[in-house]
């Protein structure tokens, strides 16, 4: 069944969900470092996507749109939080400790990610973990297309320095 205003049919949504849900979840977790929040925003992003009046989009366009909704929801969440609890922002935007398959490595990785700002995490994740182009990163993160390269370069240099200082190499774990 397809409600008159749904953006896609149920089968098309099922396919899109299979293709994007894991990567969107990993993106949200990587950026916000809060499992409950990531789950909430994941569901909210899909609901908004389904109930929005979309223009004609191909699969890649739908994925970008979805990431954009999720990013905007995340930014809205932090804005609301800052408004409700001024002074709490730095604490809440820092990574929350999460159980891991290999706890020592995961905690180390999370500690390194915590050294970056929200925007830096967002840009790096979209570009390097999701393979988005610079134009797509700009659209999803709401940054000017020309600024993306500079911001990415700075964020990458910062994270690379953090990774090296913790003993990681391109070959893998310390």
């Amino acid at each position: 069944m397809r409600p008159a205003e749904a953006a896609v049919s149920e089968s098309a949504f099922g396919r899109l969900y299979q293709q994007t849900a894991r990567s969107l979840q990993a993106y949200l977790l990587g950026v916000c470092r809060d499992r409950a929040l990531a789950d909430d925003i994941l569901q909210e992003a899909y609901l908004r996507f389904l109930t929005a009046k979309l223009p004609e989009l191909d699969e890649r366009g739908m994925k970008n749109y979805l990431f954009r909704i999720a990013s905007n929801r995340l930014v809205d969440h932090y804005r609301r939080q800052r408004h409700e609890r001024p002074g709490q922002e730095t604490v809440d935007m820092a990574p929350a400790p999460a159980p891991a398959a290999d706890p020592l490595i995961q905690v180390d990785m999370e500690r390194l990610l915590a050294g970056l700002s929200f925007q830096e995490r967002q840009l790096l994740w979209l570009c390097h973990a999701q393979d988005f182009s610079h134009e797509e990163v700009a659209a999803v993160a709401g940054v000017g297309a020309k600024s993306v390269r500079v911001l990415l370069f700075r964020a990458r240099s910062k994270l690379a320095a953090l990774i090296r200082s913790s003993g990681w190499t391109a070959e893998g774990k310390p």
């Binding site: 069944m1 409600p3 008159a4 205003e5 749904a6 149920e10 949504f13 099922g14 969900y17 299979q18 849900a21 894991r22 990567s23 979840q25 990993a26 977790l29 990587g30 499992r35 789950d39 994941l42 569901q43 899909y46 609901l47 389904l50 109930t51 999460a98 159980p99 891991a100 398959a101 290999d102 490595i105 995961q106 990785m109 990610l113 790096l124 994740w125 390097h128 973990a129 390269r149 500079v150 990415l152 370069f153 990458r156 240099s157 994270l159 690379a160 990774i163 090296r164 990681w168 190499t169 391109a170 893998g172």
Partner: protein, 175 residues
Amino acid sequence: MKEITCDQEKEILAAAKNNRLDADQAAHLAQCAGCRDALLVSQWLQEFARGEDLRQPLPAAEALWNRATFQIRRRRQKKALIPILLFQRFSWLAFIVAGSAFLLVYGPSLWHVLATRFSASGLASHLRSLAPVELPAFKILFIAALAVVGIIVLTAISCWLGDFFARRRLFAGRE
């Protein structure tokens, strides 16, 4: 101006991802700090993402679809109820205007009747006698106007009661 991204970065990252770095690319990687940073960060983030992927259960697509369907239906219901809500507002306004006009015109004599002859039949006969002109057509119009005011009053009361019980249901968590 300092070069921000290397031209070969994209190819090197793609080759490294598939473990197909050739000798030229490996040589470039040894010289280019930007590409080394990009490769290190890319591999690190992908490893991190793999770790996250393995641990997290996902909500079912069907559940999300059903929730979206429900939300769309609710939105359409709200849209369909707009004319009724507007009529409710309008009826309140009409009730206030008609009531004020009635009190303004007939208030003093009504007060007199209530003070002196407080009974239903007395009030009815007095209201009939209040018709401005004795012509039958005007009497009919006057009674019709009274009937309209009565209908508006009843509609307003029913709307208010409807709102009141709807709010009670809402606060009681039944909707």
